[in-house]
């Protein structure tokens, strides 16, 4: 099963290497990883998608907790949360297909952010199902390149995953 973890870490050099290294050497799989600073500039937040069974996930969390620079780990999987990923897709497009692709983009509330004679770049934000659906449709026209940010997520409502809170 896929789990989404929010990991609050100290914003220091080498912390990403410690987290990534832990995953590789313990044989855990990272599906995606997104990192950025938090409101408190001394801290960063990593959103990790992990494909694991329950027992492995427990080890992932415990081993992450042992890293001195890791402050807090929240499992967002089982709580109501909003998860999003941003994807840029460069798709083949000529005069004949361009308007069809534009329609698809509109349907998915995606944006066309670059146009050339042979291609378009489409920016789409959404959850996994939406990204999967648009990718499948666009594949029909020929996808030249695709880049994904990895998932980021927040708990719904006023509850937060900040340090020191539940």
């Amino acid at each position: 099963m896929k789990y989404v973890l929010a990991v609050l870490v100290e914003n220091k050099p080498g912390v990403l290497a410690r987290v990534a290294g832990l995953f590789s050497r313990r044989g855990f799989n990272i599906e995606s990883l997104a990192v950025g600073r938090t409101l408190d500039r001394s801290l960063s937040r990593m959103t990790l998608e992990v494909d694991a069974d329950e027992k492995t996930l427990e080890q992932v969390v415990k081993q992450l907790n042992k890293l001195i620079n890791v402050l807090k780990i929240s499992n967002l999987t089982l709580e109501p949360s909003v998860g999003r990923e941003l994807v840029l897709i460069k798709v083949c497009a000529n005069a004949a297909s361009r308007s069809e692709i534009q329609q698809i983009a509109e349907t998915f509330r995606a944006k066309i952010v670059d146009v050339s004679l042979q291609s378009l770049i489409i920016e789409v934000t959404g959850n996994e199902e939406k990204i999967e659906a648009i990718t499948l449709l666009l594949a029909h026209y020929g996808i030249l390149e695709i880049v994904r940010t990895g998932k980021i997520a927040l708990l719904r409502g006023s509850k937060t995953t900040k340090n020191g809170e539940a």
């Binding site: 870490v9 100290e10 050099p13 080498g14 290497a17 410690r18 290294g21 050497r25 027992k55 427990e58 080890q59 415990k62 081993q63 907790n65 042992k66 890293l67 001195i68 620079n69 890791v70 402050l71 340090n163």
Partner: protein, 559 residues
Amino acid sequence: MRLTGARMVLEALRREKVELAFGYPGGAVLPLYDQLYDAEVRHIMSRHEQGAVHAADGYSRASGRPGIVFATSGPGATNLVTGIATAYMDSVPMVIFTGQVATPLIGTDAFQEADITGITLPVTKHNYLVKDAHDLPRIIKEAFYIATTGRSGPVLIDLPRDIQAAEAEFHYPQEVNIPGYNPTYQGHPGQITRAAKVLSRARKPVIYAGGGVVYSGAHGELLELAENTGSPVTTTLMGLSGFPGRHRLALGMLGMHGTYWANMAVNEADLILAVGARFDDRVTGKVSRFAPSAKIIHIDIDPAEIGKNVRVDIPIVGDVRLVLAELLKKAAPADTGPWLEQIAEWRRAAPLHYCQEPDGELCPQYVIEKLYEETGGEALITTEVGQHQMWTAQYYRFSRPRSFASSGGLGTMGYGFPASLGMQAARPSELVFCIAGDGSFQMNIQELATAVAYRLPVKVAIINNQYLGMVRQWQQMFYRSRYSSVELQHGPDFVRVAEAYGALGLRVHKPQEVGPALRRAIETDGPVVIDFRVRPEENVFPMVPPGSAINEMIRGESS
């Protein structure tokens, strides 16, 4: 006060009450070594950085204090890696200072540059690259704190040369503030109550004690708990010195080369109380068939160990000594008489055995048994890794905590001899023996010079079977006796090697020479190497073959 980075290190060591450090100098630590020249802290220079780090490890295991190591950048630092990994696997507290090229040169492949914080990331509890001398006092304080608290382990501080020379204000903090690090010491009272109830109701309990008992100083509590509840105690290799080997409740070691009765007891137990142990594969054998009828209580300071390898019924995270002390208050005596009788029967049915003919080839087990008798089980012992290590675990019955050091987790050949120097330095008035193999001893044999130079009167007992014995045993048993690269028939002549270094060398061929040679070594006021020429193809039994459950032992015949 304003100090240079190098001076700060020495000042911090003074505040941490460090008396002894181990190391090897080089270009990137010249400022540090200049400070060491007239420092209060004693420094033992090894002949190889690996020797220094293992010696610091042995010092720590014998004293309970963190081991301190200095080495230069690049090759000096990379030579430490095996020793750091050894300490990490066995949870030995250590603070390691490595030199690094000057900060402007970092990342340029400068002379003797190696990314040692990157290299040691997976084998340290934590590490630091110091980029500003102002941070150094806080970093050293944190390093000592992290190394010695919670589940202890090695912490490395990489010190660029310009940081050692730079001046900054020195304020050594009284307290640390590390928000991501809060070890749990007190066990959960509810869990302890549950554990006490289960323990008091058990008919066939076994206490399975590991290195955590030794490190937390819980040997007294463990003994009391075992006696109060009538529970027999088996130990891991790391836990051997945590429970008196001659006690009526002592089962000896369990696992791959554990005693028949310890493994049978674990297999039949209705309760396993795991104390500061981590269910290593060498202990459990086939993990899905480990202790099939037992409830498992697991006490450990590291939450990540709980549930890692086996399912646990009652987990208790906390310091072993504190948890056992609470458990003692709540655990009621249980009737384990029939159970102990059953175990005694197993013991009678399959005792440890070997056959020493009076005029025959020398048996390795006999040497270790004699060593045990001659020292009354009171010596400080280190081992290298291999057959002699397992025979030591089987035949030397330890009576005191912190009297045994061996590379348990990593299984590092070359550990034992330098570690024995560290043990001797920590406890100068005591008798220290390194039980070695002829293969392992050669991995750090150069430290004989250190032993002589610093008057560390360690006695090395080489169980010389002219083979890499354990590898040979596996090749014999599982690879149709195709002995591939295990022969060591070409020496060296260990007696002459010892003499060349200025130590005493002795050689023993016959059983009746063993006692006198040991006594002569013990009476000698300096390092001694005894070359015990033993039967080459003796095997270690019992043995749980890889992939088998621990009750499926090959008990072996005395050949």
